[in-house]
């Protein structure tokens, strides 16, 4: 096993909410008074977890709480999480921009962070001057930059403008030049934040290739992005952050699946869909009141490859409405791309208030391959003018899990079996 190059021990980071002003000085003086007497900081005892949607009671919030992990040499670690989960805070601590409130980070080798491209570009200076400046800011020496200068300019593709002040550059050119410098950094550990979101498709491809190369050379990369495809193609291991805590730490695909809600706690078993208010749309005339999968009359979300898959769907009309249309889709768990869908009118005529509509859907056996599938259900009016209710993995609808007992490797590739016909002609 390769050696550990980065070790985070119990990192926590506390932030104060609200504005800095006359009100905060009392806390500062109190803290100082405690520390001066050798006591503990009183404000470290309190603080809410980092859940941006819930209103907290405290002025303090733990952006990160007790984070522990190790990164081994040559690892490509992906860090994922929703907005405000603590990803950037973690990167800032690792890249020394700020320190953790408590805890330690131990590092072996040179570490460089790429939280932004073109940091420190001065608009009045030329591209050439800025390459040197930016390179030095990122930690390169002048000789290093000089020796790689031609390569950098080549990579950026802005040769023609290299002696023009960067304030005349288009924003895309600026990003290209910035990334080109960063791409030629050679630290043992590289931290990359979502910098690939900019630039055109061709350049993005180039950047991804470069990051893959860096990883291929046995250097360690920590990568943060919301682009799950990029993540799963580059990274090996992953960390999923949720409200400032590590929710999952394993191989990247497990993390992504969990991030996409694939392993949602089966809240449905304890709470019916009817009572859940956090649906995408839940104000329609007709609402789902129950969704359940069955195998041979038994409630389950796990199916064998050769079993028929049945769904029992119950709806209830809250208001009079014009017919009922049902839509269902299966989604790819990593990207949530729709794999297949179908739409069918259940009722043509009016559905009166209080009326209950129930139906079942059957997917034939041996159509879905081994793996997991996200489900997406929606109902609307028969003319398809609006959707009444949508239920998907966001409200912790379990994923469909297809397994096989006798693992014929052929069941394991692809997502579907499609009907086919063979004519043998002799």
């Amino acid at each position: 096993m390769s050696k550990v190059v980065l070790k985070a021990i119990n990192i926590s980071k506390q932030y104060r909410l609200g504005q800095v002003g006359t009100g905060t000085i009392a806390h500062d003086l109190n803290r100082w008074w405690h520390l001066a007497r050798g006591k503990e900081d009183p404000y470290l005892q309190i603080g809410d977890t980092n859940d941006r949607s819930a209103k907290g009671s405290s002025d303090y919030v733990w952006s990160l709480k007790d984070i522990n992990f190790e990164v081994r040499q040559g690892d490509v670690l992906g860090i994922i999480g929703k907005n405000g989960a603590g990803k950037s805070t973690l990167l800032k601590i690792l890249s020394q921009v700020t320190t953790a409130t408590t805890g330690k980070v131990k590092i072996r080798g040179r570490i460089a962070a790429l939280l932004e491209v073109g940091t420190g570009f001065h608009p009045e200076l030329t591209g050439r001057e800025n390459v040197f400046l930016n390179g030095a800011i990122l930690g390169m020496t002048k000789t290093e930059i000089t020796s790689k200068f031609d390569e950098i300019v080549n990579f950026s593709g802005v040769e023609k403008y290299i002696d023009t002040p960067v304030k005349r550059y288009s924003s895309g050119m600026m990003v290209r030049l910035g990334f080109a410098v960063a791409a030629h950094l050679e630290p043992e550990i590289l931290i990359v934040d979502e910098v690939l979101a900019v630039g055109d498709a061709e350049f993005q491809k180039k950047c991804m290739g470069k990051i893959k190369n860096v990883a291929g050379e046995g250097r360690t990369v920590l990568f943060v992005s919301h682009n799950m495809q990029a993540m799963s193609s580059i990274c090996k291991t992953g960390i999923l952050l949720k409200n400032g805590l590590i929710d999952e730490m394993s191989d990247i695909n497990t993390c992504i699946k969990k991030y996409n809600g694939l392993f949602g706690e089966s809240v449905l078993t304890t709470m019916s869909i009817k009572d859940r208010l956090n649906r995408t749309q839940s104000s329609g005339n007709i609402l789902f009141s129950n969704i359940q999968a069955f195998s041979n009359g038994k409630k389950t979300w796990d199916f064998r490859y050769d079993e028929e898959i049945n769904f029992q769907i119950d709806c209830e009309a809250r208001e009079q409405s014009d017919g009922l249309l049902f839509y269902m889709a299966l989604q790819e768990p990593l990207t949530t791309d729709v794999l297949t869908n179908f739409k069918v009118v259940i009722k043509e005529g009016a559905v009166v208030k209080g009326q209950k509509v129930s139906f079942t859907i059957t997917l034939p056996a041996k159509t879905l391959r081994i793996g997991q599938f996200l489900l997406y259900f929606a109902i609307g009016d028969a003319k398809q003018t609006r959707w009444y209710d949508v239920v998907d993995n966001n409200i912790n609808l379990p994923a469909l899990n297809i397994t096989a007992i006798d693992m014929d490797p052929h069941y394991n590739s692809g997502m579907f079996s499609i009907p086919y016909k063979i004519n043998v002609n002799n």
Partner: protein, 291 residues
């Protein structure tokens, strides 16, 4: 596996990031590692000033000349403040050249954290590089202005026999160094104290102006010794006073040169800089959270 863990921990780590710092770790080795960045910053500060100008660095001459003429008119002619028998233009230029180095260094280092927050928030390098680069780029500017001063001084030396330059002129580099470090010391203390509460910043803008009048720039120290000897002690408490006086004495042969006073300025600078470095190093670690 357990053996492996122990081995991992025993093997030296290159870098350990912790919330607490020991007060004595000033990170000088880090600054050495980033010395290329230091010089690139100096170059940037210097070059970007006269980009898109026709006269270029010549603009550095204009400021002291116009200021000296203005002072000569207002303080010399209108207010009739004596200049120890030296030509007023030369007298004021002498004071202004050195004073500007101090005030430019101070006011620019005093907003190190706030002005560079966007860069500091994205990448780590020893923060001290920025104020150091200010000291150096202002030193370049001072060098240019000193050339101008020496030219004017040379002219008066040749045409006028009231000037008595002397051997203390050898102390000039030392005086400049003291001025730079004084500005740096004040500047880094102020920037460290204004990351969270900005109140002090308002004090600085006019404080620097007022400090000039508390230093013998537009008047000679001899004037105070003569007219208000009881208040001289306040002027001497200002560490800049003896530096400016020594500078004038070296070039013009007027003013008070006193080793004791200079010793005071030196110790003041050393203590100030030392406190500044400690405070700065403490603040630089997490100022991003409050800036």
């Amino acid at each position: 596996m357990i053996n492996k863990e122990i081995e991992d921990d025993n093997e030296a780590w290159d870098l350990v990031l912790e919330p607490k710092t020991s007060w004595y770790s000033l990170g000088l080795d880090q600054i050495l590692r980033f010395k290329d960045l230091l010089f690139l910053f100096v170059r940037r500060d210097f070059v970007s000033v006269y980009k898109q100008t026709i006269l270029g660095p010549i603009w550095f001459f204009v400021q002291p000349v116009i200021t000296a003429i203005t002072y000569a008119v207002i303080f010399g002619i209108l207010a009739d403040i004596p200049t120890d028998g030296v030509n007023p233009i030369l007298f004021y230029m002498c004071g202004i050249t050195l004073w500007n180095y101090f005030s430019d260094t101070l006011s620019k280092t005093a907003d190190t954290f706030t002005a560079n927050a966007s860069v500091f928030g994205k990448v780590y390098f020893p923060r001290m590089i920025v104020p150091l680069s200010v000291v150096l780029s202002n030193l370049v500017k001072l060098g240019i202005q000193l050339l101008l001063f020496i030219a004017v001084w040379g002219y008066f030396l040749a045409t006028d026999n009231t000037l008595h330059p002397n051997i203390t002129i050898l102390l000039v580099p030392f005086l400049i160094l003291l001025m730079g470090f004084l500005g740096l010391g004040f500047g880094i203390i102020i920037t460290s104290m204004t990351t969270k509460y900005r109140d002090l910043k308002f004090l600085i803008t006019f404080g620097v102006q007022l400090l000039m009048y508390a230093s013998p720039i537009v008047f000679p120290l001899s004037l105070v010794s003569e007219k208000y000897p009881q208040y001289k002690i306040f002027l001497l408490a200002n560490p800049i006073t003896s530096i400016i006086e020594a500078f004038k004495y070296a070039f013009l042969g007027v003013g008070e040169f006193n080793w004791l006073y200079l010793g005071y300025s030196l110790s003041f600078t050393v203590v100030l800089l030392f406190i500044g470095l400690i405070v700065f190093n403490k603040v630089e670690k997490s100022f991003m959270d409050t800036v």
